[in-house]
Amino acid sequence: MAAAARFTVVGGGLAGLMTTIKLAEAGHQVDVLSLVPVKRSHSVCAQGGINGAVNTKGEGDHPDIHVKDTLRGGDFLAEQTSVKGMCHAAPGIIYLLDRMGVTFNRTPEGLLDFRRFGGTLHHRTAFAGATTGQQLLYALDEQVRRYEAEGKVTKYEYWEWLGTVKDEGGRVIGSVAVDLRTMEIRTFPAEAVCLATGGPGIVFGRSTNSIINTGTAAGRAFMEGAIYANGEFIQVHPTSIPGEDKLRLMSESVRGEGGRVWVPKKKGDTRNPRDIPESERFYFLEEKYPKYKNLVPRDVATREIFMVCRDMGMGIGGKDGVYLDVTHIPAKTLDAKIKGVMEIYEKFVGDDPRVTPMVIFPGMHYSMGGLYVRFEADSRTQTPAEGSPVNQSTNIPGLYATGEADYAFHGANRLGANSLLSCIYSGMIGGPAMAAFAKSNATSAAAMPEKYFQSAKSYWEDRFATIKKMNGPENPYGLARELGDIMTENCTVVRYNDRLKKTVEKIRELKSRWNNVNVLDTGNVANRSLSYTNQLWNMLELGEVIATSALLRDESRGAHYKPEFSLPEPKVKDPTKDPEWMALWKKRHEKWAKTTIAKHSEQGPQISYEEIPTPVLDPEPRWYA
């Protein structure tokens, strides 16, 4: 390999841009493929902040406590060495972003300010108003633009990654992609390819995700032999505003800044919420979780809200919805700290949340699972070894994954404000890993015989030509809605095996109906239906992985909740003091504290389980009450 090699990064969100920056900084050439101008990537939607135990609040916070909160928050399903590496790198990452010009909120002394977030008792979340993701993405976008101006980075915006180019030995030596405007299909030779393609929110139809988050790239990589891990772990965010086109996120920072969740004590109370006195309000999170109150982890808050509405029938007006109330906080404070979300509520609902309590309900938000990646631990620190080519590598040689697209950092449930961190950290170690991998190869991808590229290109040209001729009765967007409806109904907050079975059957039915799709558009410019029909198949593949993985995991853990297989409530407040319960917990843990491994086959995903090493922290019951 020459000193300066060429790499491809797919996706222009935080993970992709940080991977790109690391490669460009080391002197390499990077092609960035993105469905949209990278500045419009989904990272822009993250609101609340980024975690790092900087400990400037005199609370004795430390990266090791961050590690513990994260591993416990994910109910010990996360990959431990990467979590440790991430939490220890976090303060440095926040400082780096600060140096890049992120407009973080400040204390009167001019230092970075930190707020509370879920699943921790410390002020650990740096923030820029309530549009932190936007601010972080812009900072990285600006750095990449600088490299672009220097000629080290070439952006291919409005290009969609279709699949890999492999050599005979199965090593990835490039990609095939389509220009979503001219519909040109071409190959991109690369020493290594990184999928930083985000999550699969649109598999669920409506979610808090951007409409570009179909998971298509991960779905395709899965079909090409990449392992998809922990697919069943889908985070449903406690607080979103339901909408026809999407579920709009109301950041956890609303509760971090003092927002309270409640319903009227009287079922179906029709009074204006402001006329309901304190004594007639049921602050159900504060009552049940006196320590964490409204800042319990997301899976816990989501389940409580869901049960208050569905099981107890105490939702506002008898419907799905609870109050998220900030009316007791001065408007000036709200505007300084969470104006972004206040405005979203105002614009899309029409009420001013500074005056009227917001009405919210849980909405699909994030995938903890993703492409399986490996790490090489430094035996001294038990963190990912610096510069190892193993870090963030999938099981396909030369294919890497970073950001939400990988499975590693969040286990069974992600803590708020850990996703921006994992995106950036995975890019920081993923970029150097790709460079190290390239260095270890005797033959450069660029020197590989043309036949590999030619055959991959003609495969995709044929596939697109075939799809373009599809003129059956099925509307691809209609099929996607059916997929989204059943995934949301059966694969989110509460899961039952009979319904999951039906979901898998339904997905298989949708797959067969996919063959009768009408492509709707025969145009040669910006033919979105054509690319979407291809994406839809990959979405169905991922949906099947998620539903099958959920069906086969007979326990409750983090975001995966099956009432039929849940442990009973312990008899005492501290479960470790209930030996009978501890015995049950231990038995369950030994059986299920494993990574779900999904491999592709024509008959549907093949599921197996992998032991999780615990060199950093021994598992313990996860308990917040």
Partner: protein
């Protein structure tokens, strides 16, 4: 859903007139669509409905409308278009607040890609022109950046919420597809980076980028930009601030030229 409800939903409809253009070089036309009414619907949710049933009021099957969108919460900047003759973000354009038929047209200051989708590359080029970044020494750990006052942060934060949607360029009488006026968004970004304690170190380069053809002096002070900005960024203030910077630099240039001439003039 029972039948009574189903009838109630289908009887009330929303009418759209949507600009169709298959190719940047082909002439365009309007298609009219009727979409079932739903409470809380916005322009994007209706366009999605058209995707699921792309049939015009005349019963003609057509290709689904092409438009740009991603986040649907007014933070990605994708979906700016002309709605009933006014540029705005389609995701936050609630149907209940719009007069019908709702007319959708692409922005006119950018080349059309197809239908409502346009090419805003000039905006990203403008960010390169003003060197809209902080040139950090590297991504290695160098500790925190300089301290900043909450007051400065609050000004910079608002400037940095620009979503590059193009509304300010669309509303500006000085911007056209054939000229290279840099526009309010990039001028405001130059101000942002010049306010940053580290960005200040390169402030002269950014100010120079705003001088010359297509620069800040092409602003006609119509003040349309600030009125249409969906993020309510004080764009005209940014233009005024940067105008002052340009003037200061011009004066400095003249002064230095004179100084230089004197020093090169030899003993008088």
């Amino acid at each position: 859903m029972d039948t009574a409800q189903a009838t109630a939903v289908t009887t009330r409809t929303i009418t759209f007139r949507i600009w169709r253009q298959d190719d940047p070089n082909k002439p365009g036309h309007f298609d009219e669509f009727k979409v079932p009414y739903t409470k809380g619907a916005n322009v994007i949710s209706c366009l999605m409905e058209i995707q699921r049933n792309p049939v015009t009021v005349e019963g003609k099957k057509v290709a689904p409308v092409i438009w740009d969108a991603a986040c649907l919460e007014e933070v990605c900047g994708s979906c700016a278009m002309n709605i009933n003759g006014r540029v705005r973000m389609a995701c936050s354009a609630l149907v209940d607040k719009l007069e019908q038929p709702i007319t959708l047209e692409p922005m006119s200051k950018f080349p059309v890609v197809r239908d409502l989708s346009v090419d805003r590359e000039r905006m990203f080029d403008a960010l390169k022109r003003v060197k809209g970044w902080i040139p950090v020494d590297g991504t290695h750990n160098l500790g925190p950046g300089p301290r900043q006052s909450p007051k400065d942060q609050s000004v910079m934060y608002v400037l940095s919420t620009c979503i590059t949607c193009g509304s300010c360029l669309e509303a500006c009488p000085q911007v056209s597809q054939d000229n290279n006026f840099i526009g309010a968004a990039a001028i405001s970004q130059a101000r942002l980076f010049n306010m940053n304690p580290t960005g200040k170190l390169q402030s002269e380069e950014r100010v120079r980028a705003l001088m010359g053809p297509g620069g800040i002096q092409d602003c006609g002070k119509a003040q349309n930009c600030v009125k249409v900005c969906p993020k309510e960024i004080p764009l005209t203030t940014s233009i005024a601030v940067m105008n002052r910077e340009v003037t200061k630099l011009l004066i400095k240039d003249i002064f230095f030229q004179e100084e230089e001439q004197k020093s090169h003039g030899g003993p008088g």
